[in-house]
């Protein structure tokens, strides 16, 4: 089955057509190698980095932003978001702190992307 994508590798935005030619993934419409790589990846296993933010108990800020440390399969994004929504985080949090080891069985960690200090230290 042929699929069509707009390449996101650069501003040109080539319209790619990608199909499976007896086990080999073929790309047309690209004008450079990056389009070829993007087309194959998007056709075979589209991946996305998920970012969100979670409430922090006694944080100096209400929320701490988070991301998956690795991209996750596109079709698992909603599951990963659900796992992130269930997180309970307590201040202090440092950038890079692992908040969840394995997001919804994807193997990707969820890490903090912002520093949130304990507000009780400042009152």
């Amino acid at each position: 089955m042929k699929k069509e994508f707009v390449c996101i590798s650069c501003p040109v935005g080539c319209r790619l057509t990608v199909w499976d030619d007896e086990g080999e993934v073929k790309v047309s419409g690209n004008t450079c190698r990056r389009g070829q790589i993007y087309g194959v990846q998007e056709f075979t296993a589209p991946m996305r980095t998920v970012t969100s933010s979670v409430p922090v108990e006694h944080g100096r800020q209400a929320m701490c932003s988070v991301k998956t440390a690795q991209p996750v399969p596109k079709e698992r994004v909603q599951d990963v978001l659900r796992a992130i929504r269930a997180l309970h985080v307590k201040a202090p949090v440092a950038v890079g702190d692992v908040l969840l080891e394995d997001a919804a069985g994807t193997g990707a960690q969820v890490v903090a992307t912002r520093r949130v200090e304990d507000r009780r230290k400042y009152s």
């Binding site: 501003p11 980095t49 800020q61 929320m63």
Partner: protein
């Protein structure tokens, strides 16, 4: 009491932080940053999505991570001080700053050099004059972004977005990911000013329709938004074709309809302004026409990549330190003017001399394929070809200053 500092910086966002570090590295004995929010980092703190830093750090970071790298650096340096919750009210031509803060009351600063790094703000419903009632539920996209990502509040459940700039696209995905239904994104123009990447990953991934040549012609609802009327526009005149009007039920309208450099303080310095960028006129050192007052980042011209803001702020910070120590030579300048499809160029002036200067510019409409020519009189300084130039992407060209002996033009044409 008046505090004396070598370099004062208005704004502790990406531009202000990078300028402070550069001023310190260039030998400034003390640097003071005035920031109105309760923490440094500026707008990056609410831009929790990734994609920042590919050019500057060579890796993909989220906004808060990008900011934290600069905050960590600044915190290591004792001679850089940040006053938080501090709002600058005035900058005079002789570099006297008046600010207020709950902790320090009235703050007066006399600076050897000033770097303006106040950033920009969003255009609102008032700027568009959308007819209809005035209910709750109409937000700028950036305001909604702060509510969702930093305050943990949802502005609404059923959303229409007007404007397909990057913030609007990013917020379309963000609202869906937090459980809202995004009915559509309407774009007045026949193209989006947002990145392809965001159209694909924010809209297409989530099945959100993008309607070009379409705008909101009326807002409905008394207390709360109940719906909007949308209509197609004539691509030539951009006037709505009322026979195409239709009602869309929603409780929230998000606006992503442009950014305006926040230059009220700049005007008090008497610096000449560029009517196209809505920022100050600067030379390659990012000095405005008000001596010793520099500008960088989104207050100078709206950038699409923070990486470019950091690079520009380094120039401004370094120049400010040099000026404060009497090491920035005064020299005659030449004008840099846009022509053809080029809408503006920053810097708008150049000092003749040695070395190279990077000119940043934007085209007014898409040029495909594009040929760029930089000229000084009849002499061609540089030519450049690109498969496409679009209004949404800032372009850069580097020229050799030794060849500049008069006014410079930067011209983009099809071909």
């Amino acid at each position: 009491m008046v505090r004396n500092v070598e370099v004062a910086i208005i704004g502790g966002g990406p531009a202000g932080l990078a300028a402070a570090l550069a001023a310190h590295k260039a030998g400034a004995k003390n640097v003071l940053i005035l920031e109105r929010d309760s923490f440094p980092g500026g707008i990056l703190q609410q831009c929790i999505h990734n994609g920042f830093g590919l050019h500057y750090f060579g890796q993909e970071l989220t906004g808060p991570e990008y900011a934290q790298r600069f905050i960590d650096e600044v915190e290591k340096i004792d001679s850089i001080e940040i006053l938080l919750d501090t709002m600058a009210l005035e900058v005079t031509p002789d570099r006297r700053i008046t600010a207020v803060s709950p902790e320090h009351g009235l703050v007066q600063v006399q600076a050897g050099a000033v770097v303006l790094a106040m950033g920009c703000r969003e255009r609102t419903r008032g700027a568009l004059n959308i007819p209809g009632t005035r209910p709750a539920g109409v937000y700028t996209a950036g305001c909604a972004q702060r509510l969702v990502n930093m305050e943990g509040m949802m502005p609404g459940r059923r959303v229409v977005i007007l404007g397909s700039g990057d913030i609007g696209l990013i917020m379309a995905r963000r609202m869906v990911w937090e459980g809202a239904k995004v009915e559509m994104v309407c774009e007045l123009m026949p193209y989006s000013s947002g990145l392809n990447r965001n159209i694909v990953q924010c809209l297409e991934d989530n099945g959100i329709p993008l309607h070009f040549n379409t705008t909101v012609v009326e807002v409905h609802g008394r207390e709360r938004v109940e719906g909007v009327t949308i209509a197609q526009v004539d691509p030539a005149t951009r006037k709505p074709k009322m026979e195409t009007a239709r009602y869309v039920e929603c409780d929230t309208l998000l606006l992503s309809v442009g950014l305006i450099p926040e230059n009220e303080l700049t005007q008090g310095t008497g610096a000449a302004m560029d009517r196209v960028t809505s920022g100050a006129v600067v030379d390659a050192a990012r000095q405005t026409t008000a001596e010793g007052i520099f500008a960088c980042g989104n207050v100078l011209h709206v950038h699409d990549l923070v990486d470019n803001v950091s690079a520009e702020a380094q120039i401004a910070g370094q120049s400010a330190a040099k000026y404060a120590q009497g090491r920035l030579d005064k020299a005659e300048t030449v004008d840099v003017t846009p022509c053809g499809a080029v809408r503006y160029v920053v810097p708008q002036r150049l000092v003749k001399g040695e070395g190279e200067a990077a000119l940043y510019f934007r085209v007014g409409s898409a040029v495909k394929p594009a040929r760029l020519t930089v000229k000084c009189g009849d002499a061609v300084l540089k030519t450049l070809k690109k498969p496409v130039m679009t209004p949404g992407e800032m372009e850069k060209v580097v020229i050799d200053l030794a060849k500049v002996d008069g006014d410079v033009t930067v011209c983009a044409e099809e071909g």
